[in-house]
């Protein structure tokens, strides 16, 4: 944000030392232990450039503004999720009010694999901390344009899904090539819905990519795109599993690479995502990001086994990266001339079918997404979602989402659809998420009961 009156960096450090997915899971109590040790030992919290906040809890309402949790929000989250989401909201509030210049939410659990519809945990995520922050900013502070830069080694497929049709949210993700890592998506041809073409930009990188290529992409693609898009608020999904020591990722990014990345991006709020080299990467990378955000000298932050020049980019990879950047810049430049394929359009609705794999709990969700093609607004969205759990239970739900700046016709149609479908008994649960009015309701067909969040 411009016009900040205070020049401090806000820090929320919430390691959730009493929360884990399972005792030996990478997302466990120990994850931020050594980061805590490093940050505390360096006296970061005492620096005049840093102010530490204690997180507050996000509300169920804040989550319902983004997600359709099946059956209800309360069933999909723990308190730790409310705290992690609440931390982002608190920092966003403080940045908007000008009390801090930027913020870093070093929290667990992460969120960028959580999609719009939530049946369970995917890629260690249940709810999407960044998306919750974005919709909070739009609802409470009237922010219009937001950019999310996802720098995790895994494709931020959840964030991509949530803002796929949203021309006001730019989602840029660089990550390890989906052919080699979870969740197997994030290719250059994934560019967003018909009304938001190229507002989703995916940069898949081959395993072994180094700082050099990363910064080439930053300088020649991400920064120019941001410069064109002119966001009012920039969020960094600061995953740290591109680090050369990460056990899940296979990239070669260093703490210094991350620090320079943060310095160039200048995010308003950075949110920790993945990163599971809990000893060899996290203490250094988190330090590097904090110092870069606070405008402090980070040149002394270095891994014990790193020396400048340790990782060199091959000429072939350099050339491949150059070609990809050119290809993506081409899409970006033509973003307003895009015409959707007529085979995807049926009766004024744009159709998309998706199969979503829940890796943590091992089941598949099938979705049919329909976007109302409207000339006056972004159009309302419906998602028919079916899940076959391996243990035999089935659930079929209908989710209806009305965007922030919906026209009255779309609102009316969507509301009528909700009321009408309640009678058909076709779905177990039906949801109506009206962002324009900030009201979120649901209906349980089995007991004919409505609820609102």
């Amino acid at each position: 944000m411009t016009g900040s009156i205070n020049h401090k960096t806000g820090l929320i450090f919430f390691p959730a030392f009493d929360w884990a997915i399972s005792p030996t899971h990478p997302e466990r109590e120990e994850r931020l232990l050594y980061t805590r040790d490093q940050i505390f030992e360096e006296g970061i919290m005492d620096l005049p450039q840093v102010v530490e906040y204690t997180p507050s809890l996000a509300s169920i309402h804040d989550i319902a503004r983004v997600h359709f949790c099946v059956p209800q929000v309360e069933e999909q989250i723990t308190e730790a999720h409310l705290i992690a989401a609440g931390a982002g909201i608190l920092l966003a509030d403080e940045v908007i009010s000008g009390r801090i210049k930027n913020g870093f939410s070093v929290v667990r659990p992460p969120g960028h694999h959580a999609m719009r519809v939530v049946h369970g945990n995917r890629g260690f995520c249940n709810i999407n901390n960044e998306a919750i922050m974005v919709d909070y900013l739009r609802c409470r502070h009237g922010v219009k344009r937001v950019a999310i830069i996802d720098t995790d080694a895994h494709h931020g497929d959840g964030t991509q899904d949530i803002f796929w049709h949203d021309p006001d949210v730019l989602f840029v993700s660089f990550h390890q090539d989906g052919r080699t890592i979870f969740p197997g998506t994030g290719f250059t041809y994934e560019l967003g819905g018909p009304g938001a073409f190229a507002r989703t930009v995916n940069i898949p990188l081959l395993p072994g990519t180094t700082d050099e290529s990363l910064h080439y992409i930053l300088d020649n693609l991400i920064l120019p795109v941001l410069n064109d898009f002119k966001p009012e608020f920039i969020i960094n999904s600061a995953g740290q599993d591109n680090h050369y020591t990460d056990p899940l990722g296979s990239m070669k990014i260093t703490a210094q690479g991350y620090a320079r990345l943060t310095e160039k991006l200048c995010p308003d709020v950075a949110v920790l995502e993945g990163g599971y080299a809990i000893e060899t990467a996290l203490p250094h990378v988190n330090m590097a990001i904090i110092l870069a955000l606070a405008g402090l000298d980070y040149s002394g932050v270095r891994e014990p086994d790193y020396w400048p020049g340790r990782f060199k980019e091959t000429p072939e990879r350099k050339e491949a990266v150059r070609r990809m950047v050119d290809e993506l810049m081409g899409y970006w430049k033509n973003r307003d001339n895009y015409k959707p394929d007529s085979r995807d359009i049926k009766d004024d609705f744009y159709l998309r079918e998706k199969e979503i794999f829940y890796d943590t709990e091992y089941f598949v969700e099938n979705q049919v997404e329909k976007l109302r093609l409207c000339t006056n607004c972004q159009g309302y969205l419906t998602i028919e979602s079916n899940v076959d759990h391996i243990y035999g239970s089935k659930s079929s739900v209908l989710c209806i989402s009305i965007p922030f700046a919906a026209c009255s016709k779309c609102r009316e149609e969507a509301t009528n659809l909700y009321v009408g479908q309640k009678k058909t008994k076709k779905y177990r649960y039906i949801y109506l998420q009206d962002k324009s009015e900030d009201t979120f309701v649901g209906y349980d067909t089995n007991n004919n009961k409505d609820w609102h969040s």
């Binding site: 030996t24 232990l33 030992e41 360096e42 006296g43 620096l47 730790a80 000298d297």
Partner: protein, 562 residues
């Protein structure tokens, strides 16, 4: 019987307690330097006349001497040898001393990642010797996790300059905060000599009066330590004065009360909180003379406003300046003060009433207000300032960072039920502060010597911090500077607790502190399983145990003066 003696900058106070009875109190002026002994003797004699000193169980001292020494410390005779390794560039911290940076590094697990360079150390040492330094603090980043580097440097110093006074950071700053460890070590170096002078005066005084009771000194956190240990850690005694007042109030109010302690002095008002009967500890170490230390202290806040603060009229506003030009106008001072306002409104009978009105007139003339109006305005200002700070303290306490889910969920709002006044200027303001906060007000009978009472009732405390890394197979007892190896990798949480308890009992034996094993409390406990590649490869335990802080007797308010 217990004796409590508070050696303040201006007065030395003493009390003699027999269980919950205050048998005698004394207040004598504190003399400087060599004459300090005389003040301590005067105070002792006054409370012990006709008492058989063999009946004394314990004498506890509290003092502001070290705080005062630090704030007026102008020498430059301490050098720092730092081993910061990679990370934050050290020059963000101005340690205000001759600082030498040595190569070498240890990480968060205590692994050596960069070796020391002997030649470099030799060169630095001869430089310092040439410059005439004899006091040196050696501090490494993560040194509490591995004391090897600090010890090696210390050994090299001892070899070459055996007469130097050397302090190691790992002994003094056991928590994880390198810059604070450096400051705390620096202050330890700087205060060792004057502190020794102080405790020598104390020892002499007690020998002269044939007192052979256990001698303790109050710490900033309201615990006490045996006089002999305190010699190693003089900085722990900073702010023992305010800690003494707070413990005194704790003893003088009903148990389990939530109260604000308001100590109104000449130019400052000290605020402290007692939550459900227990004084609140500050979340972070104490700040002294602009140095952030690792010294655990009670949460005491100083507001720059007191009975003798200078009042000034600027435009249509009255301002309180954070300075003192002398006593109140009604006591013959040069300028109007809040005390004069109290006198005009009849809240105190100090000084000359006519001069007090004159003082208010001086202020109010330009505003066209009568003395009573001006006085009310002044009192309002003072009360506003103090109540705002009280509310801030509660807010800050609520907003202290927490790192576990349950801590966040269990944060709750607490507001005080009682405002307790101690200190000379308290009388006039307390009831109004209480009214503004919606509380009862109380000035206990022994308010004037609350600090000495606090010292007398403080329980002896000892603490042990244990760090165990079963994967690396070692443990460290921070307070003892001991690093040992584990016999077995199958070392569990119970073993860790037992080990900490053993060390605490042994430490207590060493210093003659009697402890009841059942009373030992765990104030910090962390266990982390280390999992590498889906297999548990070790455990990390961090345990801090202590004998409970607290007071031995509750005296109660007695005749309550409102």
């Amino acid at each position: 019987m217990y004796v409590g003696i508070d050696v303040g900058g201006t007065f030395t106070d003493a009390v003699l307690l027999d269980n919950d009875h205050v048998l005698a109190t004394a207040k004598v002026p504190t003399r400087d330097g060599e004459e300090l002994l005389i003040s301590i003797l005067e105070a002792l004699d006054s409370v012990l006349s006709g008492v058989d000193t063999k009946l004394l169980k314990r004498v506890v001292f509290s003092t502001t001497i070290i705080t005062n020494f630090i704030t007026s410390y102008k020498y430059n005779d301490v050098a720092l040898l730092l081993i910061p390794g990679p990370g934050l560039i050290y020059n963000y911290f101005d340690f205000g001393a001759r600082t030498c940076i040595l190569s070498g590094a240890v990480d968060y697990r205590g692994r050596e990642i960069i070796n020391l360079k002997e030649e470099e150390i030799k060169t630095v040492l001869s430089e310092l010797a040439a410059e005439g330094f004899k006091k040196v603090g050696v501090v490494g980043k993560f040194s509490p996790r591995n004391t090897m580097h600090e010890k090696k440097v210390a050994a090299m110093i001892k070899d070459r300059y055996p007469q130097w006074h050397v302090e190691l950071g790992s002994r003094i700053g056991v928590q994880l905060n390198f810059p604070r460890r450096v400051h705390t070590t620096y202050l330890t170096c700087a205060t060792r000599e004057p502190y020794c002078r102080f405790i020598n005066s104390v020892r002499q005084a007690l020998v002269k009066r044939k007192i052979y009771a256990d001698i303790y000194i109050l710490k900033a956190d309201g615990g006490t330590m045996p006089l002999d240990i305190s010699e190693e850690l003089p900085v722990e005694t900073i702010f023992s004065g305010p800690a003494a007042s707070t413990l005194g109030v704790q003893a003088l109010i009903p148990p389990k009360e939530t109260a604000v302690v308001v100590d109104v002095g000449g130019t400052t008002t000290d605020l402290a909180l007692i939550l459900s009967g227990r004084p609140l500890l500050a979340a972070k170490g104490a700040r002294v003379a602009n140095r952030l230390t690792q010294v655990r202290a009670l949460a005491v806040k100083s507001v720059p406003v007191g009975g003798d603060s200078v009042l000034k009229c600027s435009g249509i506003n009255i301002k309180i300046l954070p300075e003192r030009l002398g006593p109140a106008y009604c006591m013959g001072g040069p300028v109007p003060t809040p005390t004069d306002a109290l006198r005009v409104l009849g809240f105190t009978s100090l000084g000359d009433g006519e001069r007090a009105r004159e003082a208010m007139d001086l202020l109010g003339k330009a505003l066209g207000m009568v003395p009573e109006e001006v006085a009310r305005k002044v009192i309002d200002l003072v009360v506003d300032k103090i109540t705002a700070e009280v509310q801030n303290m509660f807010l800050e306490w609520e907003q202290e960072p927490a790192y576990r889910v349950w801590e966040i969920l269990h944060k709750h709002k607490v507001r005080p039920a009682m405002v307790v006044g101690v200190g000379g200027g308290a009388a006039g303001f307390i009831s109004m502060i209480a009214m503004r906060l919606g509380c009862r007000s109380l000035i206990p009978r022994y308010a004037a010597v609350a600090n000495a009472i606090g010292a007398a009732v403080a329980k002896p405390t000892l603490q042990v911090s244990l760090r165990v890394d079963t994967e690396k197979g070692y443990y460290i007892v921070q307070e003892e500077g001991y690093q040992g190896s584990l016999k077995s990798k199958k070392f569990n949480e119970q073993n860790a607790l037992d080990l900490a308890r053993e060390w605490l009992v042994e430490r207590a034996g060493k210093y003659g502190v009697k402890i009841v094993p059942a009373e030992i409390e765990i104030i910090h406990q962390e266990t982390f399983n280390m999992i590498r590649g889906w297999v548990t490869t070790g455990r990390l335990f961090d345990i801090t145990m202590q004998t409970p802080r607290g007071i031995i007797e509750n005296i109660g308010p007695r005749e309550v003066v409102k």
